[in-house]
Amino acid sequence: MNLMTIQRYKNEIILMFTFLFAISAFYYKFSASDYVDKNRNIIQKQIKEINAIESYKKQWANKSMAKKVKLFKTIVPASKVKRFSKKSSKLIASYINLTSNDLNKITNKLLNIPIQIIKLQIRESSKNKFTMEFTCKW
């Protein structure tokens, strides 16, 4: 293509380039949109998963729980604590002669602390007296 041909078809060449520019820009926009559509879900899913893992770990595998569970030893008078055994990340506790209030106190605490209740047994031993036994871990 010599200079004369370029000169002659200058308008067509200008239009061709502007058209190609517009097409390329459209392609860029749609590929950007496609990229975002595909990656936004992936990125958000990853963020959600990581946040969920962090949250679960903080809740159900909290290392500081070992200190918090000590309160199950002192929550009722020592005479009512039949057994309190804390080993590693596991606690076995049993109580006797609990009044309804004692029972409510221990149960509320148990429900509000993020520990895994492996076993729970509450039994009425006599009129308004209860025994309680639970095993939990964190």
Partner: protein, 294 residues
Amino acid sequence: MNHIISLENSIDIILTPQFYTFIREALDLKFAYKAKQIAESLFDDYLDNSHEYQYHVYKCDNRWCFIAYDINEIGIFLESVGIEKHRVSKIFFAQQLLDTVEFPILLDEQNILQNIDDVVTLVPRQIVNSEVEFKPLDMNALRFKGGVTMGSSLNSYISIKETLMLGSIFCILGTTSIIEGNRIKESITKDDNKLTELLDENPRYTSSLSRESILAKYEPINNVERAKREAIKDISKFLSNKSQLKRLTIEKNRIKAEINTNNRTIKRQVKEHAHAKNFKVSGSSLALKVEKSL
């Protein structure tokens, strides 16, 4: 008779006065574009309305020089002498030779170019005094400014006007698309940065398998533990001074409770509430057993 010319390269041409109409006016205008705006009205009485004219305006001394020309007519002439329009790069007008035409210039056997009252005019040779001295036109000495082009419209299939219009539309659309594309891409930058930050803090979560296995471990724990707590709260709502808890057991993801009621009405109420909370209810007389899988 016109000579047919064969060209290899582009050329500039000088048009003699029969191809244009010239007016010189003293106008209080500063800019050529302003002068061009009024050019058409200046030629109103001089031009044939059936033709389509274009105007070339330039400043000459303290006045404005206006030249009206019909580019189609020029094109037809050029083709008749074998000059392809696209080979013409610039067109100049003989009027622009004013400084050069001190002496008459012999164009051919019949015509001369002569300066008459500062207007370059085509004059038949036969009316000129035979003693008049002609001067050859020294093309190398000519210095032209501001010629006009044939206009791409005459060479191309698409006119300059259409080119400008469509080109501008394409450019605007293209630019808008690029801006829009960048904006779209930036919309996930925030999430992307957050993810990078989280992964920097916890590099072991980079692998989706690792994340899935951790979630698979903790999700059931979370669900079951929440269900246990919910079930204990539900059972506590069944209790009152007329319905007492006898036994409650949680073992292997199953919760069971035995509740003693004082009368049939209370029993029925507890039963209804237990059913509403999806507990399986059993038991005869006034003692009820409620249980549920977690």
